[in-house]
Structure formats: C-alpha cells, structure tokens
C-alpha cells in the first residue's frame, strides 16, 4: 500500500509538468501582442506606439523562444514564484492560497450531503425496486442529473434570494466581513463558518451559513442524483448475487442483509466512479462561485480566464490538477479498503 502511494505521488510532478506544458503552449496561440496585454493597464495599452510595445515585449521576455520562456516560468515556479496575478492583485500563489479555504468550505459542505443522502437514497430505491419510492427517486435523479448547475443556481437565487430573501449571494455580509477581518477574530481553520463558531460569534456563523446554503444546494443537487443512480444500479446487481441469498439462508435479518452484506459490496463500483464526482465538484465550484458571487478559486480562475491573465490561469489550473490527482489517489486507496480482492502495488 505504501509503495503504491509513493509511486502515485512520484507521478504527481510528471502530471503537473504535463498540465503546465499544455496550458503554457495553449497561451502561445495568442502571440506576443495579446500576451503583453496581460501585463499592461488596458487604458494605457491602446495609446502605446509600436516601438514602446516592442520595448515592453522585450522587458517581459515575450520575444524569447518558447522553450526558454517555459524554462524560465518553470524555474521560477520551482522556487515558489508563480508570477503576479492581475486578477488577484497579489502573487499568484498567495491569491490561490487565500481563496482556497472558501472553495474548500463550499466543497466540504456539498460533499457531506452528497455522499450521505445520495447513497442512502440509492440503497432505498434499490431495496424498493419498481415500487413507488423507487420510481419517484429515479425520476428525481434523472431530472436532477439533467439540470445544468447554472440554471439550477439561477432558480435557487430567484426563489431564495429574490422572492424569499433568505440566502443572499456573496460570501459574507459587509458587517460580518469586517468582524472576520478584524484583529480579534482568530483564524484557526480558515473556514469562515467553523472559525466563527470557534470564536463564539454565532451571528457571523449564521451569516456565513446563509450565504453558503444556496451554493451548497446547487453544487450538491446534481451529484446527489449522480451518486444515487450509481448506488441504485450497483445495489440492484449486488442484491441478485448468490452471497446475498447465502446470508438470508443463514438467517441474517433483512436489515443486515441489505446494510451489511449487500451495501458493503455495492460501495465498490460507487467508489470507482467517485473520481468523476471529484472532477464534477471541482468544475462545479467555478460556475457556482461566479453565479453566487462568492470568493474562491473557481471565481479566480474564471476571472483570470476571461481577462487572459495567464499567470493566474496557469496557477489555478495547476492547483486544480493537483487536487484532482490527490483526490483520485484517495479514491484508489478507498477502493482497496472496500474490496479485499484489490491489491495495490
């Protein structure tokens, strides 16, 4: 197991290198002029003469050959310097790290109901196969799975913000933000809602919660549906297996047959598709942070992409890739935990 983890971790730099190379080369399509735009204030940019442009291109190293420029970027990146983020108004790495807790908080809050509710409903549907509950859950799942996250997000905003006024967009209200930024507020986990509780500020906690519920519902809605579909089909297959009959023939209660013998086996294929879910949740944060106007890495990435801030795009993409690779590694380990027949090595 340990050798497997180490081997996979050794693969990580290779993947990061590959990803950075892809993104870096994609940006070469733009040509030096457009790349320069990322460095210069747009108001000034249009007034510059062609000589001045050449000087600036020289200054930022845009005229050097591709390999050299990639080499420079890579060397700096290895030293921890990912460049300056126009969008984040700070160093790229710092911009990413300061926004990460917000995205993590969103993902964690979404993941827990997704896993809990999704598996629970999937098992319930399989056990009551073709009965009313199953039909209902299946319709819910396929419709849910067909909802684009931004359409669903807009509907949530419309109902819960515009009509009911419950869940406002943004990350925190103005007053709460000031408290969080103040000296007396201790940042322990950097997750706002948890820190608020630890600081004993129930009002801030409540405010953070109000802002995060809408995004969490939106982010999890689609993946509930996905997970419960997978769980249901996997559970149905397992329930028809002979070892389930063996368990019944032993006199095991129906509850244990389902929740012990069958469910443990049904989790194996569920774990293998969890990789898709990690990718989905990560991509989901991009659109959802934009819709709900939240601070986070997804928003940073989206803003950077729109403004062609390629240092930030490179940084955020790499960050997402690392999270993705680590996420898949955890899933592979879980897979081995759930299925004794799998040997990692």
């Amino acid at each position: 197991m340990t050798t497997f983890i180490i081997r996979r971790l050794l693969l990580l730099p290779l993947i990061v290198l590959g990803v950075s190379l892809i993104i870096f080369s994609l940006f070469q399509i733009l040509g030096p002029d457009k790349l320069l735009a990322a460095y210069v204030n747009p108001n000034v940019f249009d007034k510059l003469s062609s000589e001045e442009l050449e000087v600036l291109k020289e200054k930022y190293g845009l005229t050097k050959p591709f390999a050299e420029r990639y080499g420079i970027w890579l060397w700096n990146a290895l030293k921890g310097d990912l460049g300056w983020s126009q969008v984040g108004k700070d160093a790229v790495l710092k911009s990413i790290l300061s926004r990460f807790p917000y995205t993590l908080e969103l993902a964690l809050y979404a993941l827990i109901p997704v896993v809990g509710v999704g598996i629970w409903l999937g098992v319930a549907a399989a056990v009551h196969r073709d009965k009313f509950l199953d039909q209902f859950i299946r319709i819910f799942a396929i419709v849910g799975w067909s909802f684009p996250d931004f359409v669903f997000g807009l509907l949530i905003l419309m109902v819960f913000y515009s009509v009911l006024g419950w869940f406002p967009p943004g990350t925190l209200s103005q007053w709460a933000e000031e408290i969080v930024k103040s000296e007396s507020f201790h940042k322990i986990t950097h997750l706002v809602s948890i820190d608020a509780l630890l600081n004993g500020r129930l009002d801030v906690f409540w405010d953070a919660l109000r802002h995060i519920i809408g995004p969490v519902i939106t982010l999890s809605f689609l993946w509930w549906a996905y997970l419960l579909r997978i769980t249901r089909s996997s559970m149905l297959e397992v329930l028809s297996k002979e070892y389930v009959r063996t368990a019944r023939a032993k006199g095991v209660s129906e509850h244990d047959v389902i929740h012990k013998h069958a469910q443990r086996n049904a989790m194996i294929p569920v774990v293998t598709v969890a990789g898709n879910m990690v990718i989905g949740l990560l991509s989901g944060t991009v659109i959802i942070e934009v819709i709900f106007n939240r601070t986070g890495i997804g928003r940073l990435a989206a803003d950077a992409a729109v403004q062609l801030d390629y240092a930030t795009v490179l940084g955020t993409t790499l960050f997402y890739s690392i999270v993705l690779v680590l996420g898949n590694l955890i899933i592979d380990i879980l897979y081995a935990v759930f299925d004794p027949r799998v040997r990692l090595g």
């Binding site: 993104i23 940006f27 733009l30 419709v143 684009p148 659109i287 989206a302 955020t316 993409t317 997402y320």
Partner: protein, 310 residues
C-alpha cells in the same frame, strides 16, 4: 429460421424492450420533438426583423438567422404576450432564441461528440492495439489531459481562441476525447487476447484490418452509449461557457448566452427580480429537457445493450 429473419425478430425484441419502458419512450419523444423544432425552425420562428423593412415594405429577412434580431428598444425584460409568448430580454424575442437555439444545441453537441469520439477511438485503438511504449506514452498523455477539470480547460482554451461557437467546439473537442480513448483501449486489450485475433494475425492480415474487422464491432456499442450520455453534459458545458460570456457571441441564438442576459437582472436589486422568471424559465427548461432527452435515450440504450450496467 433464416439469418435475416432472425435479425429481424432480434431487432423487434430490442425495440419492444425499449418501448415498454416509459422513460425511454419519453426520451425518444422529447428527442423527436427537438429534432422537429430544429428542422422547422424557419417556419416556427421566421428569421425576419420586424423593425427593418425592405423596399416592398415587408419585414427584412435576416442575413444570419442565428443572430437574434433586436426587436424592441426597451432594455428591461418584457413579460410574455401574445406576439412574444416567452417574453423579451435585452430587446430580443426569447421564443425566437429558444427555437433557433435548438439548432445550435444539436450542432454543438453532435459535432463535438462525433469528432472527439472519433479522435478518442483513434488514440485508444493505436494505444490498445500496439501496446508497449506507444501505449505508455499515449496513456500518460491521456492522464495529463484528464487531470485538468473539463470546464476549466474548455474555458481557458475558448478565451484564448476568442468568442464564437466554433471556438467553443474546438476547445471541448481538444479536452473531450479521453473517455472514448480509454474505453476503446480497455475493450481492445480484452478482445485482443481472444482466439480469433491470434488466428487472423497468423494468416498475415494487416493490422489495420484486424482492428477494423474484429475489434470495433465488439466495442462500438459501449462507445455509442457513452457518446449519447455525453451529449447532455457537452451541451451543458457549452451553455455554461456562453453563460460565463465566453462562448457564443452576444445575441447569438444559444440557450446559454440567453441565460447570460438574465444574470444581471437576477443578481440586481432584490425584490422585483422574480417578475423576470420567464427569462430564466424558458431557455432553462429547453436546456433541461434537451439534456434529459439524451440522458433517457442513453439510459435506454444501455439497458438494452448492456443490462449488466443497469
């Protein structure tokens, strides 16, 4: 029983199996509905601009029917009326956009699915058939492409290439072939072991023909099922990019960019925004039903051809 008749009864059985399942029927019905809308778009929503008259005093024909004409100068959304059953937003008729957006959705979805699947099949077959270092290199490249979140990758490439649905399609194809490649490769590795491949290799048949004749017919159904399941998610991603203002140009008949219009109205002042429900509802529903149709069809195909996955 003759072979032909056997095929026929087999086909009839399959059809019966599909159409006994109400959700499959719903899926096909929805899909047919969208196909009809797409085909007859010029009749359902005439591509004319009532604000501009030609020499004979008739409304002018649009040069490009996919660019939604501006038909009112009111920039606030206008609620549904008899003339504009879905209402208007940003001076454009929502009904017109939903109808012509159907064509856009089919165009984007089918093109990207077909090209990226074909590309995936190519990479996967080369990788699976030749194995060795070719396989190793191609699969590591696949890994790298797979470790960039799809939406983010498509977003970055679209921005680099510039606005336009052709750019969106290129971006989604570049980052969308890996699933098919892996599937094909895995299936080829499995089929490769089987006897008849060894036999035909011994006879000295060219590699290319071995792949075409033996492997593809065995693996084509899983690929088709995967492709139909992907149609929905591709359309969602394309619309998502348009929604972020990255895909289709402003005013293009595309469901995502119509929703982009509504963003400011929804996020604007609290209170009155619910009165703009139609601006979200109609394009949103069109998209949900379109994706639903493909998902139901994909489900039905999977149930019939691969009951193991049910």
């Amino acid at each position: 029983m003759s072979k032909e008749r056997k095929m026929n009864t087999e086909l009839r059985r399959t059809m019966r199996k599909i159409f006994r399942n109400p959700s499959a029927v719903l899926g096909f019905a929805l899909l047919i509905f969208f196909v009809i809308v797409a085909i007859f778009a010029p009749l359902i929503a005439e591509p004319i601009n009532p604000m501009m008259l030609d020499d004979n005093g008739n409304p002018m024909k649009l040069d490009d029917p996919y660019v939604m004409p501006i038909i009112t100068w009111s920039s606030t959304p206008v609620p549904p009326s008899a003339d504009h059953p879905f209402g208007m937003i940003q001076g454009r008729d929502i009904f017109y956009g939903v109808v012509w957006g159907t064509r856009t959705a089919f165009f984007i979805g089918l093109t990207v699915t077909i090209i990226s699947t074909l590309f995936g099949i190519l990479i996967g077959s080369i990788s699976g058939y030749y194995g060795g270092w070719i396989d190793e290199v191609l699969m590591r490249i696949t890994d790298v492409f797979m470790s960039i979140p799809f939406l983010l990758a498509a977003m970055v490439l679209t921005t680099i290439l510039g606005n336009g649905i052709d750019k969106v399609m290129i971006a989604m194809t570049v980052f969308g072939w890996m699933g098919a490649a892996r599937l094909i490769r895995a299936n080829i590795l499995q089929v490769k072991e089987e006897q008849y491949i060894l036999a035909s290799k011994a006879l000295g048949v060219k590699d290319y023909f071995i792949i075409m004749r033996h492997v593809l017919p065995n693996t084509i159904f899983p690929v088709l099922i995967q492709a139909s399941m992907r149609m929905g998610s591709l359309v969602i991603t394309a619309a998502g990019l348009s929604f972020l203002g990255l895909g289709a140009p402003l005013g293009y008949a595309d469901w995502g960019s119509m929703l982009n219009f509504t963003r400011n109205w929804i996020l604007g002042a609290s209170g009155s925004t619910f009165s703009y429900w139609y601006a979200v509802f109609y394009p949103g529903m069109a998209m949900v039903l379109f994706v639903l149709a493909w998902n139901l069809v994909g489900d039905a195909l999977r149930d019939v051809f691969d009951p193991r996955l049910k």
